[in-house]
Amino acid sequence: MADATLTAAAPHTLLKSSLLALPMVLLSGLMLLGGPNLPRDPLRLAPFLAVYLFVNVLFFRMLRTGRTERYRAAFFIPFAVAFVISFLSNLIEARGSMQLTAGDMASGRTPFCHMVIPMTLVPAALTRTIIFPGSLLRGFAPVAGMFVIWIGASLALGRGFCAWGCFFGGLEDGFSRLRRRPRVRHIAKVWSYLPYAVLVAIVLTSAASLTPTYCMWLCPFKAVTEFPALTSTVARFQAGIFLSLFLGLVIVLPVLTRKRTQCGLFCPFGAFQSFTNKVSPVDVRIDRERCTDCNKCVNSCPTFSLDRESADRGGTRLSCCKCGTCVDLCAKGAASYHVRGTPVGWAPERARLLFIYPAFLFLVTFGGGMLQEALHRVLLLASTGRMIR
C-alpha cells in the first residue's frame, strides 16, 4: 500500500507484548469457538486451530513491532476472500444458485447486508417499514442483528469499520497491492465527494420509491454475492451494471492507482460511516510540530482521506478509516492515533492500543468465523472433491 518502506513506531518488549496479547489470546479463542468445546470433526478442528494461531501471531506482531497496517491487511484481505468462498458456498447449498428469486425475497430469505443501512433509516422512521427483503430476527444475517453489530462497531471504531470489518473492502485492498507502483497517480479531489453524492441520491430515491435503490442499481458486490434472477431484460441490464462497477472500481482502478477506489470514490456506506468518526473515541492526528510536510502520508492514504489542507490542519479528512498506513509510514512519528480530548501527540502508543484492541477483536469476531468456514470448504474440496455438502 505505501510507496515507501513502513517505519516502525513504538515496539514493545517481548514480555510486554506477550502480556498485552494475553487477553486477545483468550477472547479470540472464545469468539472463534463460539462455545466451550473444541470441534470434534477434523475438518472443523484444523481450520479453527489455523485461524486461532494466525490471528494471535498477527496481533502479537502488531504489538511487538509497533506497526499496524501490514498485520491488519494480512487478516483483512484473506477475510474478504474467505467471505466470498463461505458466502457463495452457503448460498449454493441453501438455494442452489447465486440468483435471488422473487419467492426468496417475499419470504424474507435475503441475508441483510450492512451496505443497506443508510437506505433503510428514513423509510423505517417515517413508515415503520424495512425496505429490504430480509428477516428481522430469524435466519442468517437478520436485520436486527446486523443493526446491533453496526451500532456497536460505529461507536467504537467510527469509520474504522471500513478498514477492520468490511469484507467487501478487503477485496479491493488486496487488488490495490498487486503492483509495486501506481500507473495512475493523480485523481481529482472532486471525485472524493462522489460517495456522499451516492449516499444522498440513494437515501432520497429509496425514500421516494420504498425500494433499496443501491441494491437494485449500483452495488458492485452483487458480482460476488447474490443478485436478482436473470429472468428479464431489466435484470440482465442491472447485472451488467453490477459487473461493470465491480470490474472497474474493485479490480481495475485499485490495481492502477494502488488505492481503495471503491471505498474512497464510490461507497455510500463508507460516506455514511464517515459521520460516525465524529463520535468514535479515537482518531488520527498530525502533530504539526513534528511534521516535515514530506507528503508521504498524503500520497499513501488508500482512501483519499489525507490531503495537504487536512494535514496542515493537523488531522485527516472525515473519511479516515484508521487503517494505520500513515501512522506506520511517518518517519517523524507526526501521524499517530489520538484519543479525543487529549493533546495531540500525547501517549500515541496508548491511543493506538486503545484502538487496535477493539478493532482487531471486531475483525476476529466478524471475520474469524468466515475464515474458518472458508478453510473448512477448501479442506472439504481437497478430501471429497466437492466444496458443497
Binding site: V190, Y193, Y196, A197, V200, A207, V234
Partner: protein, 205 residues
C-alpha cells in the same frame, strides 16, 4: 376544501417523490435562503404547470384519453429518462470559460440570464408529469369533473396543500458557503439523473 385536505394528507408522498430532484438543485446552486425560496417557487410553478396542463388535457378529451396501462408506462418511462438527462445536465453544468469571440460572450450572458429560472421550472414540470403520485389523482379527478373550472380549482387546492411540505427546503441555503456541499449537490444530481435514466430504460421493456 377537499382538494386542500387531500393535498395536506398526501404531501409527504409528494415531498419524498420530489426530494431527489429538488435537494440536489438547492444544494448545488449555492444561493441564499431567500433566493432558494425563489428557486423553490419556480420549481413548484413548473410542477403546477405540469399538473394543470394535463388536467386540462384529460378533462378536454375525457374517456378517450384514458390511456392503456402500456401507453401510460411508456409515458412515465420517457419522462423518467428526460428528467434523468436534465439532472445530469444540471450536475455537470459549469459556467463557460471566457472567450474573445463576441457571439460567445452574448451567448454566455443570455445563458446566465435564462438558465437560472429555466432549468428549475423544467425540472419541476417533468417531476410533476412523472414521479409524483398525485399526478395519477389529477388524471382521475380531471376526467371525472363536471366542469373544467372545477377540475382546475380542485387541483390548485390540492397543489397548495402539498406545497406546504416543501417550505423548509430553502433552509439549505444556509449551507451555501460550503464548497463541499455544493460539489456534493452537483454530483448527487448526476447520480440521481443516471438512476432515473436507468429506471426509465428499465420501464421501456
Amino acid at each position: 376544501m377537499r382538494g386542500l385536505l387531500l393535498g395536506l394528507s398526501s404531501g409527504a408522498v409528494c415531498l419524498a417523490s420530489c426530494a431527489p430532484v429538488l435537494i440536489p438543485c438547492l444544494l448545488g446552486e449555492s444561493r441564499r435562503v431567500r433566493a432558494d425560496f425563489v428557486l423553490l417557487g419556480i420549481f413548484l410553478a413548473g410542477r403546477l404547470a405540469g399538473y394543470l396542463a394535463f388536467a386540462v388535457l384529460a378533462w378536454s378529451v375525457g374517456a378517450l384519453l384514458r390511456p392503456q396501462p402500456r401507453t401510460f408506462a411508456l409515458l412515465i418511462a420517457a419522462s423518467y429518462i428526460v428528467l434523468g438527462a436534465l439532472m445530469v445536465v444540471f450536475g455537470l453544468d459549469r459556467p463557460p470559460a471566457a472567450c474573445p469571440v463576441p457571439a460567445a460572450g452574448r451567448l454566455r450572458r443570455w445563458q446566465a440570464l435564462v438558465r437560472p429560472p429555466l432549468l428549475p421550472a423544467v425540472l419541476g414540470l417533468v417531476t410533476g408529469l412523472n414521479v409524483c403520485p398525485p399526478f395519477l389523482l389529477a388524471f382521475a379527478e380531471a376526467a371525472a369533473a363536471r366542469t373544467l373550472g372545477a377540475s382546475l380549482l380542485f387541483f390548485l387546492a390540492f397543489f397548495l396543500g402539498t406545497s406546504v411540505f416543501f417550505l423548509p427546503f430553502p433552509a439549505l441555503g444556509a449551507f451555501r458557503a460550503s464548497a463541499a456541499l455544493r460539489t456534493v449537490g452537483r454530483l448527487t444530481a448526476v447520480v440521481v439523473g443516471v438512476l432515473y435514466c436507468g429506471m426509465g430504460l428499465g420501464m421501456l421493456r
